[in-house]
């Protein structure tokens, strides 16, 4: 039982980080029908901005994180949307898929070539000491990760639901044409979505890098898990992506602990196939109407 609790809690902690990446992913999909295959790399890169801030510019951890946040929002939000996605939007999903795959390769190679191909240790914001809880050994790091993700997600929900800009963004996601008629600047709302995605990715990056170390190749598994979480939870719901992220985190940890580690990733994959076949809109998603 205590082992189960332990696996569950650490699964929830990593799951909450996956959820951050997955939420950004669903936001982009809702706002602009963009499938971002570079999402994992969006989580990988900010950690290196932090490292550059600390080791090259000599900043402390918190100023470096702030710097990384600003740089990521500008580069991965503004520049990504304006330069790469905007010209392709009228041409459907496929060119965007190809371009983001290429972008993922580009980001990976840039980090490998100009920073380091080795895994870099990354300072944690929380102490790594542990305490006992219901018989399980829980680290402050896990708790800290859960709390920070929860704060970020709650803040996002409040922003989307309670502020004027947030409601305009929701309107843009639901029906861009009507939103535009009602005076919403939809291009700007889409841009905000891209910037929020970059910010969420930065938070996820800062939280996950102390656990998995900062490495150029870490993006691929994280991106895959973010897709899985988004699909399992429901592509058009923020809370769906949250549930999906937590679920995948727990299932991943459970199958590593109780099934063979060789087929570890198979558990989430089979879950994905079953969900897509039985409930394509995801666990919490609503069905999207089809157009003739």
């Amino acid at each position: 039982m205590s082992e189960f609790m332990q696996v569950l809690i650490s699964g929830l902690a990593t799951g909450s980080i996956y959820a951050l990446a997955a939420i950004g992913f669903t936001l982009l999909w809702q706002a602009s029908q963009t499938i971002n295959f570079a999402q994992g790399e969006f989580v990988m890169l900010p950690a290196f901005f932090v490292l550059i801030g600390m080791h090259v510019l000599g900043l402390g951890l918190l100023p470096a994180i702030t710097l990384a946040l600003v740089v990521s929002v500008a580069l991965l939000g503004l520049v990504f949307k304006r330069v790469i996605i905007q010209p392709m939007l009228p041409h459907g999903v496929l060119p965007i898929v190809m371009a983001t795959i290429a972008l993922a390769i580009l980001m990976r190679e840039l980090v490998k070539e100009f920073y380091s191909a080795e895994a870099q240790p990354f300072p944690s914001m929380f102490s790594e000491s542990t305490f006992r809880f219901l018989g399980a050994t829980v680290s402050y790091q896990d708790v800290g990760n859960l709390v920070v993700s929860a704060i970020a997600i709650t803040a996002l929900q409040l922003f989307l639901g309670r502020t004027r800009t947030g409601r305009c963004m929701q309107a843009t996601a639901q029906n861009p044409a009507v939103a535009e008629i009602l005076g919403v600047n939809i291009q700007r709302m889409v841009l905000y979505t891209f910037m929020i995605n970059a910010a969420l990715a930065t938070i996820a990056s800062v939280l996950i890098s102390p656990i998995y170390l900062a490495k150029f190749s870490i993006g691929e598994p994280i991106g895959l898990v973010a897709f899985l979480a988004a699909i399992v939870g429901g592509f058009n719901q923020v809370r769906g992506a949250l549930a999906g992220g937590l679920l995948i985190g727990v299932i991943d940890n459970m199958s590593a602990a109780y099934l063979s580690s060789e087929y570890r990733i198979a558990g989430p994959m089979i879950l994905l196939i079953i969900i897509v076949l039985l409930r394509p809109q995801g666990l919490l998603g609503t069905a999207e109407g089809r157009t003739v």
């Binding site: 965007i96 371009a99 087929y263 994959m269 897509v276 076949l277 394509p280």
Partner: protein, 324 residues
């Protein structure tokens, strides 16, 4: 125009025949792998470009074909039988994988096929008794046809070329046949196609199955070429590479995947001087191409051609609703 087209085709064919004589063994090897990947890309082009069903599973079909061929030829069975078995197996698996496509579309389908690729990779890696696990299978024999052995790289190239031409002719025939039109109808508007009497269910499954069989054929050619296969050659990255070939070349065009495969296989060779930077340059080029011309290389050529053609210019002041 028809004359120009036939001359171009003939010139292309002559180039393909002459090409290996200008190359050493390694160059011939690269040419072989171009033709082989072109076959895989052709199959994906049928599924994606013509029938509009996205698939990220082409590499695992190559894997199925390659492992079938490897296991059968190493057991002493002739290549011709093994390729039939490999393609048949892929056809059946493709049919099964097509079933999700009946329920879900677009990005969902992409992820189901992605999950399939990952699962297939896990099976290839973990089932040591059959596939040799991470070490793969070594010493796959090259086929012999009577007195002609294909151990010589140039002979193997011509063998690949013949198979490639047969595959291409088959592809051309499928696309021109009523089936090909049904595939296109499915891509353009599935509901309308259904209402006009196209059996969209069967056509969707067939699009997957035929595309998969092409993947199997290319795998069956790949195994004897490299003479060594391991699971790493059939991962998601390879699926994405084949998808890249189709999209960069121009999906839905007959010659698109050929060009695309050429670019994806050859460009790294030309960018060798850039050493470590070649992947960066390569990824950068793909982004620029997609941003500037989302229809791929063939689309780019068409765009350039229409830019040079004389156009009828409408007089602005005679337009309906024009304001003077």
């Amino acid at each position: 125009m028809a004359l120009v087209r036939y001359t171009a085709l003939l010139a292309g064919l002559v180039l393909l025949v002459v090409a290996p004589f200008t190359q050493a063994t390694y160059g011939t090897y690269v040419l072989c792998s171009w033709l082989i990947f072109a076959i895989a890309a052709m199959g994906l082009n049928l599924t994606l470009g013509y029938a509009g069903q996205i698939s990220l599973a082409q590499a695992s079909f190559m894997g199925i074909g390659a492992y079938t061929t490897a296991l059968m030829t190493m057991a002493g069975i002739h290549w011709a039988f093994s390729v039939a078995a490999g393609m048949g197996l892929c056809f059946v698996v493709g049919l099964v994988l097509g079933y999700p496509a009946l329920r879900v579309q677009h990005h969902f389908l992409a992820f189901v096929t992605l999950a399939f690729t990952t699962l297939a990779f896990l099976v290839m890696r973990n089932e040591d008794w059959l596939t040799g696990g991470v070490y793969g299978l070594v010493g796959i024999p090259r086929p012999e046809f009577g007195p002609v052995s294909t151990m010589n790289q140039r002979n193997y190239y011509f063998f690949t070329l013949v198979i490639f031409l047969i595959a291409f002719a088959g592809f051309y025939w499928i696309v021109r046949s009523p089936w090909g039109r049904a595939f296109k109808a499915l891509r353009e508007n599935p509901i309308r196609a259904n209402s006009l009497g196209v059996d969209t269910r069967m056509i969707t499954l067939l699009a997957f199955a035929i595309g998969a069989a092409y993947g199997g054929l290319s795998g069956s050619l790949m195994a004897p070429l490299v003479q060594y296969i391991d699971p790493m050659s059939f991962t998601l990255i390879i699926s994405l590479k084949i998808l890249l070939m189709v999209v960069v070349g121009g999906s839905g065009y007959l010659f698109g995947p050929l060009l695309g495969a050429g670019l994806v296989i050859m460009l790294p060779e030309f960018l060798r001087f850039a050493e470590n930077y070649y992947l960066m340059i390569y990824a950068g080029l793909v982004i620029v191409l997609m941003v500037y011309c989302p229809t791929g290389l063939i689309g780019l050529i068409e765009k350039t051609m229409t830019a040079f053609k004389a156009k009828r210019i409408e007089r602005g002041d005679l337009k309906q609703g024009a304001q003077l």
